[in-house]
Symmetry: C2
Subunit: 323 residues, 2 copies
């Protein structure tokens, strides 16, 4: 049974504290970087929380580790399972490998070989499906039936959201007096975690979500007041193509101040400028917040703003600004 | 008169301490990063001193700032001058801009537009020469005669070496119990600074220099016991094409344990792997140390090794692994 269909279990801030203790041995406390250049350019004070330096290269390892290391003993033999062709698959494989339990990953057979290799490198067991939702769900149901593994959804899971919430918990310890935090939004796992932490510990801090114009389902959902799921959004920010689900919608609709969008060109420019100026490798997805700040300078001017850099897993052979 | 022709003035460790106090307000105390991946791959414990995060994107700002902020009052109006098409030109312009004094830079007219723009962005005044040593020296002599500016050599200058020495001084404060430090070698400024600090504060720490096979003049000089200058070396590590000079040879010949070399392919692989695994943007020049460690694992196995990442100023439009 898919967890999506279960009654809504809203994680609490106590769950975040428990998650942080549970995952601390398995993650990095990532650094916060600043950039004089971007501060001068935007008129804001930006604090970049660098989850690109995180284990497995992305914040997703926080939620995945919380699910894996919180798994009850009688589930260990069966392990965990998920469907993902991105950072969640890597992160769940990494965490399961650290706990020595099986991790089953359903991935489209068309996924890049490098991603398959990386999942296998961490010990993940891949079952391939056709690149369609129907095939993915059918194959995933087979895997679950065969293995009995616990489904860890990439974002619509209270354990995952409590894990992602540890990121802004660290950020608040590392930087004083933030006026706002901004993070990219796809399915809404990171933003939900940010909402969970800030609404409990610093409700005065505004929360902004940043989304590609070409995959602006969260923006349109936010304006409409209910979830609108896109069919097949197309964006360079490939981590942000997935739709909101009930649990993440709960957090977004209750705690997010606004959702801002940026075009593909603006995202690519912000990505390249971050590499050039800050000397860090970041994914297109996490260039979206900076792109929206550059586009909405009046919103952020004079403010102290936390910017979540969500990951750094990039195919270095095909960079979007090199044709 | 070129400072090269002056009697040799060897900077002392007191000069390093004074330099550090002088330049502290103008530079970053850069972080030291580690990588589980590279530690497992090499069998060593590597500590990467990340001068790619330095102001102006490279360690060169240490030496340049020391020269500029140590300039006596009666020289301020005339300012400083140098010839460089690389990070030293950027760094000297940056430092001079912070002190509000003129900085004259002689650059070949064929230098990349991006480099000229960056120097001008920091307020440097460019005088173009033809891309030959003869023209560069003639034009530089003109500039000096016209302006009376103080010549700050990119590396063969005691003020510059004392400034670069602050990098390993920080590294020794940041990491305990190092067995060795390795840095790239071109003209020898960084290595000389490293020798200056370590020979005075931790003479038990071995010092390795890393050089491209295709520009191995320092390696051949070291083996021969006297300076051998190459005519026109060709390497992707473009910061390392310049030859040793008397002052840097003094340090190299007295304090370096060994010089190791790597091929162009090995350098490019190490560069790309560093971007991929550590999510940092580094120049080809500072991938040379890691390339030589990967090639000489027996030398470094079980050792705690400081690796100086010298800079991150890369043309993102032409990456060496993308043809």
């Amino acid at each position: 049974m898919m967890k999506d269909a279960s009654p809504l279990i809203i994680p609490s801030y106590d769950d975040v504290i428990a998650a942080h203790t549970r995952i601390a041995p398995h993650i990095h406390r990532t650094p916060v970087l600043t950039s004089t250049y971007f501060n001068e350019l935007t008129g804001a004070e930006l604090f970049f929380k660098c989850e690109n330096f995180q284990k497995a290269g992305a914040f997703k390892v926080r939620g995945a580790s919380n699910a894996v290391f919180g798994l009850p003993d009688d589930m260990l033999e069966k392990g965990v399972a998920t469907h993902s062709s991105g950072n969640h698959a890597l992160s769940l494989s990494y965490a399961a490998g650290r706990r020595g339990i099986p991790c089953h990953v359903v991935m489209p057979r068309t996924a890049p070989q490098a991603k398959k290799d990386a999942v296998r490198g961490y010990g993940g067991i891949i079952r391939e499906c056709e690149p369609s939702t129907t095939s993915r769900e059918a194959v995933f149901a087979e895997v679950q039936a065969e293995t009995g593994a616990d489904f860890v959804h990439p974002y619509n899971d209270p354990r995952v959201i409590a894990g992602q919430a540890t990121c802004s918990r660290e950020l608040m310890e590392q930087v004083d007096g933030l006026d706002a935090v901004i993070a990219p939004i796809g399915g809404g796992g990171m933003i939900s975690g940010t909402c969970l932490t800030l609404s409990n510990t610093a409700p005065e801090v505004k929360i902004f979500a940043a989304e590609p114009e070409q995959a602006d389902d969260a923006y349109r959902s936010f304006k409409a007041g209910h979830i609108i799921a896109d069919d097949a959004p197309n964006t360079i920010a490939d981590g942000l193509k997935v739709p909101l689900k009930d649990l993440t919608w709960h957090f977004v609709s209750n705690h997010v101040t606004d959702i801002l969008t940026a075009s593909e060109d603006e995202i690519i420019d912000a990505m390249k400028e971050t590499w050039k100026r800050m000397k860090i490798v970041i994914e297109a997805s996490c260039a979206v917040p900076l792109a929206t700040i550059l586009k909405n300078r009046d919103v952020f001017k004079g403010k102290r703003v936390g910017v979540i850099i969500t990951g750094g897993n990039v195919d270095l052979d095909t960079l979007p600004w090199i044709k």
